[in-house]
């Protein structure tokens, strides 16, 4: 077991082999209990399925987990020399995108699975964009099912090229991406270099995972604590509650709540019902600030240091990808933006640039409209004060989901904030 921990998202289009790959990784790293493997091998043989179906094992494990009392979502774990990995198998449907953006940060890095015989498919694009929006640092791209395409180098190169275009479209730095030809089913280039791909001399998957950069601790950023609820507790007074996203809160700190624009000194902090002198990222806390009344602050406020207060946007520029919209999006459109604990109607004031999916370059300046599948840079004006941060400075507070008509229609990340 290693010291360092990483959350690894497995993303990719339906049927491209995500579960099979997870099964293979668990198997190769000795993380599937032997009895489970034996049992499923026997069952598979009885049913006359020739090979050993990892996806089948994973599905059965899922059933076992579902029968359990509680499900630890981050259940599947394996280790390399450098890291203990926890796998997050991302939901396929886009209606879960909002959860991934506003929920607890889940993944440090990701493996994108793209089937060699199918290439880039709709969910490949959505997941790549999501990875970028969620601040995933590095992407390992497994070009899977190489066995189906007879391990052909040409086919591999074509798919690599297709994925590279896609990365460019959403401005994902292609230097932070590595490509590996694999077969999750046959085990090629997972734990051992494969003889079937003699033309490939790069890293195999487990090496690439082992060589991922260490996740950066978010404590370097200033304190940002989005307020979830505000209570009045007898004997204490006003108690805001929330989860610290970045930075540290200490008793005695002078803090500011934005956009409500009030502040004071932190008197007490409690976590797990115990008084603590300080709290860190990931901690769920309730605290009390001198001079703050229940009506002074509200859900959606962000608490930060008084001398480095959370930004409040008059307008902000963002990169968005439209995931689904029945018609077209034009300037003036005002859907609801979900960012941290805040939900605010915002107007798309201007559509500044549209990206060309083929080249990743700006395809059109000031286009009249954008539609499903488009990536664009837009300027947004919140209809009520909204605290949000540039994603390059505080990624935890720099992304949002756009919802309308009961659907998540787009996701985005903040490029620049023009403060009030």
């Amino acid at each position: 077991m290693s010291e360092q921990h990483q959350n690894l998202a497995i993303i990719g289009h339906v049927d491209h082999g995500k579960s099979t790959l997870v099964g293979r990784l668990l198997y190769e790293t000795g993380s599937v209990p032997e009895h489970v493997i034996e049992q499923h091998r026997e069952e598979a043989e009885e049913k006359g399925k020739g090979g050993f179906e990892f996806a089948y094992v994973m599905d059965n494990l899922a059933e076992e987990r579902e029968r359990g009392v509680t499900i630890d979502i981050a259940h599947q774990e394996f280790s390399t020399d450098a890291y203990d990995f926890t796998i997050v198998d991302c939901p396929g449907h886009r209606d879960f995108v909002k959860n991934m953006i506003t929920g607890a940060s889940q993944a440090d890095n990701a493996v994108l699975v793209v089937a060699a015989d199918d290439g880039v498919a709709p969910q490949t694009q959505e997941h790549v964009f999501l990875a970028r929006t969620l601040g995933i640092d590095e992407l390992i791209i497994g070009i899977n099912k190489m066995d189906i395409v007879d391990y052909k180098e040409d086919t591999y190169n074509e798919v690599v090229e297709e994925v590279t275009q896609l990365l460019k479209q959403v401005q994902f730095n292609t230097e932070d991406a590595s490509f590996i030809p694999i077969s999750a089913f046959e085990g090629d280039n997972i734990a051992e270099a494969s003889d079937n791909t003699g033309w490939y001399d790069g890293e195999i998957l487990l090496e690439a995972l082992n060589d991922l950069p260490e996740p950066e601790p978010p404590t370097d950023a200033p304190l940002r604590l989005p307020i979830q609820d505000v209570y009045t507790i007898s004997g204490i007074g006003t108690v805001p509650v929330g989860r610290i996203e970045t930075g540290v809160m200490n008793i005695g700190d002078n803090v500011s709540f934005q956009p409500s624009d009030v502040g004071g000194e932190v008197k007490t902090i409690e976590m797990h019902h115990e008084e603590v002198p300080k709290a860190e990222p990931g901690d769920n806390v309730g605290f009390n600030v001198r001079g703050i009344g229940k009506d002074d602050i509200r859900r959606g406020d962000v608490c930060g240091p008084a001398d480095d207060p959370p930004s409040v946007a008059e307008t902000f520029q963002a990169q968005v990808v439209v995931m689904q919209h029945p018609s077209v999006i034009t300037a003036g459109y005002t859907p609801v933006f979900h960012a941290h604990t805040s939900q605010v109607a915002c107007t798309i004031e201007s559509i500044d640039k549209k990206m060309d999916p083929a080249s990743g370059e700006v395809a059109e300046e000031n286009p009249d409209f954008i539609q499903s599948g488009d990536a664009a840079v837009v300027t947004i004006r919140p209809q009520k004060p909204l605290s949000i941060e540039p994603s390059s400075e505080i990624p935890e507070l720099g992304s949002f989901a756009i919802r309308d008509m009961g659907q998540t229609i787009a996701a985005g990340k903040v490029l620049e904030v023009n403060e009030k």
Binding site: C90, P91, F96, Q228, H272
Partner: protein, 88 residues
């Protein structure tokens, strides 16, 4: 279609609330097709206790939206938020 487990954080509207009763009300508010696989509790601060039901929903259209809406309407609930989601 696969299934998604969503860990949902439910904050009560006061420290005095009967958590067992609240938990039952959450159970009976579930939309069709969703089920609760156990509920964890976390003491937060100043007597407030958060409930974390793990809800299983289909990996399909609608996501966790109806569950969130229904939970929000339950008596004694202050706020509802999805902590994390993952396929099982």
């Amino acid at each position: 279609m696969g299934k998604v487990a969503a860990k949902i954080k439910v904050m009560p509207n006061s420290p005095e609330i009967d958590l067992d009763a609240l938990q039952e009300r959450l159970e009976s508010s579930l939309p069709e097709g969703a089920k609760i696989n156990g509920v964890e509790r976390e003491e937060v601060a100043f007597g407030l206790v958060a409930l974390y039901p793990t809800v299983i929903v289909p990996d399909g259209s609608g996501g966790t939206e109806t569950v969130e809406e229904n939970f929000t309407g339950v008596e004694g609930v202050e706020s509802v938020g999805v902590e994390n989601v993952g396929r099982i």
